[in-house]
Amino acid sequence: MKASPEGVLTGVHFMDGDHAACEGAIAAGCRFVAGYPITPSTEVVERFSVRIPTVGGMFIQMEDEIASSIAIQGAAWGGAKVMTVTSGPGLSLMMEHIGLAVMAEVPCVIVDVQRGGPSTGLPTLPAQADMMQVKWGSHGDYQIIALSPNSPQECFDLMIRAFNLSETWRCPVFMMMDEVVGHMVERVEIPPADQIEIVPRRWTTKKPSEYRAFEPGPDMVPDMAKAGDGYKLHITGLTHDERGYPAMNVPAQNRLVRRLSDKILKNRDKIVDVREDGCEDADIIVVSYGITSRVAGAAVEMARGLGLKVGSARMVVCWPFPDVEIARLSRKAKAIVVPELNLGQMVGEVERAACGDARVYLVDHAGGSVHEPERILETILQAARDAGLGFKTEAERS
């Protein structure tokens, strides 16, 4: 269905990623945000608290991130499209409730504007160091969806996709921003509401007497019912059967936990998004995501200028990990270069998918700024030398 025109700021704006993310949420139909201030994400909730009273939504600043991350789940069962916003330390506090949202299949969007860590780390400076926390931080086996915007425009566009994915697959969806994407100011174009496709909540059409809260549909996802509509829901974080009743035994655990993972993994083709550029005949492919993909773009251009066949593959969706796509690329290329603003997180997944077909090089960074393109270029050139590829030196080129 099309977005409600209520609150959609159609037009061309000059705004930062945090503000654009907030506008994306409002356009996607988000009407309930619970949050707690944390740099560098606070602008998202500040803007929401200003904007939402005239749009008919609700904002509450909770007492901590633990409370925020479960208040939104209460609100989701109350019928709202919901979001919370945080950064690394707050995300760490939310971990138990990410598990609850997975287990109870609660559609919700969690924005993580990443900063340097561990601990308080670098509150005002960027990193991409929560990529593994977001996937593995809560206990138990689970799958989530994580998107990685690289511009304020994408903070708007991908926010709409984040809500649509969370409503479709009934799982927490993460917007993995970072301090630079959150605070950089660029042109952001917000289309008219009738050009914004949004996914409504999958409310059941069954009567209460026929409805089973966790009976999966053909896509492995159950339809939802709202508190107050007579369905007498029982929702628990315990392992449960299709009625939602606790069922703490091996078959119930096996059935539920596998379905929760499979509904994402077996539908991954509908979720993953890898943007390839010049990969068809590339010898070296730079695989990147988020803000680092902007810097990587400069390094790729420089390497091409030296006569190397370098492709670029950007993971717009980092989880589920695009392993099929990376495996395909690694069979064609001799080397894969992975720059990321951490000491090596997604590179491990790239190596796993590449399976030795291409040699994988990490361009790490402890965080605090984006990479210098020259550092990525150096690694591309090292990969070229290791693969016996010829290229002009900088001196020959000039």
Binding site: M1, S4, E6, G29, C30, R31, F32, A34, P53, T54, V55, G56, G57, M58, I60, M62, E63, D64, I66, A67, S68, I70, A71, I72, Q73, G74, A75, A76, W77, G78, G79, A80, K81, V82, E96, H97, L100, P200, R201, W203, K226, A227, G228, D229, G230, Y231, K232, L233, H234, I235, T236, G237, L238, R243, Y245, P246
Partner: protein, 307 residues
């Protein structure tokens, strides 16, 4: 299992001509998820009595049961949500109040009742309790205080009386317990009462009052844990404890909550301690935004709820 069978099976079949016994139906059965019975609580536990009182309070309240939701945390009392035939949410340890906050604000037509234990609400969840009371969120909090962590095997709780033995206070508790009504009062709760599971009529009435009261209502219910608190401290069984509640309770409506701490020697003060009018969070929000934004303010209407 049919609950009627459970009740009849208590009698010795040889002595009872069952053909002459009228079918027994528990009067609150319609309020329970019968397909989840029998429940997990121990013989002599007070939580079943509290559920019975809550069911009676609901049945006589005139509320549409489709509009009442129960939210629980984790623990023995946390299992209440699983047995009530209502929209019911069994959430995470200590976080029932923030979940209830979201549920209530996103669906303003709901009556939201939080059912949890003393450890859940006042140890791990203590901060949420304070802030929900401060905000005067419109919800009823029912705290079953059994002085221990029952589900995990009887560890010291923020309410465990001094000198009592618990598995993690094996040589006697030296931490002063919390006076729950005083905490609720100080944080801004607008209805505060304490009863014990002996006071079933008062409890039914208090639960109805708490649900009707506009704002943050808190009821502490003292309840026996025969398995892990009473037995370990040689205090008898559940019936002994209820007898103790009966003999040592003193009714003091309007008592100063500073003076109602539970001690080994003083009588147990019960009654309605606080009843005050204070705008709820939602009323305050709507008033403030109307005053500042005028016609531009759009109250929460769940426009995004497509049904």
């Amino acid at each position: 299992m049919n609950p009627t069978e459970i009740m009849v099976s208590d009698a010795d079949e040889k002595d009872v001509d069952t053909s002459r016994v009228a079918p027994i139906e528990n009067p609150v059965l319609s309020m329970l998820r019968q397909d989840r019975l029998p429940h997990i609580w121990c013989p002599g536990c007070g939580i079943g009595t509290v559920v019975n009182c809550f069911s009676r309070a609901l049945m006589s309240s005139g509320h549409d049961m489709n509009n009442v939701a129960v939210v629980s945390g984790i623990g023995c009392t946390g299992r209440v949500a699983g047995y009530m035939n209502l929209d019911s949410f069994h959430t995470t340890h200590g976080r029932s109040i923030p979940f209830a906050t979201g549920l209530r604000l996103a669906n303003p037509g709901l009556k939201v009742v939080v059912f949890s234990g003393d450890g859940d609400l006042f140890a791990i969840g203590g901060n949420h309790f304070l802030h929900a009371a401060r905000r005067n969120l419109d919800m009823l909090i029912v705290c079953v205080n059994n002085f221990t962590y029952g589900m995990t095997g009887g560890q010291v709780a923020p309410t465990t009386p001094l000198k009592s033995t618990q598995s993690t206070m094996p040589f006697g508790n030296f931490e002063p317990p919390m006076n729950l009504p005083f905490v609720a009062d100080a944080a801004g709760a607008s209805y505060v009462a304490r009863w014990t599971v002996f006071h079933i009529r008062q409890l039914v009435r208090a639960m109805k009052e708490g649900m009707e009261h506009k704002g943050f209502s808190f009821i502490e219910i003292m309840s026996p844990c025969p398995t892990l608190y009473l037995r370990r401290n040689k205090l008898g069984d559940g019936v002994d404890q209820v007898r103790y509640f009966k003999e040592h309770s003193v009714l003091k409506n309007g008592a100063n909550t500073q003076d109602v701490a539970i001690t080994a020697t003083d009588p147990i003060v019960v009654g309605t301690f606080v009843e005050r009018e204070r705008p709820t969070w939602l009323d305050s929000r709507n008033a403030q935004l109307t005053a500042t934004l005028g016609d531009r303010f759009v109250p929460y209407g769940g426009q995004n709820v497509q049904k």
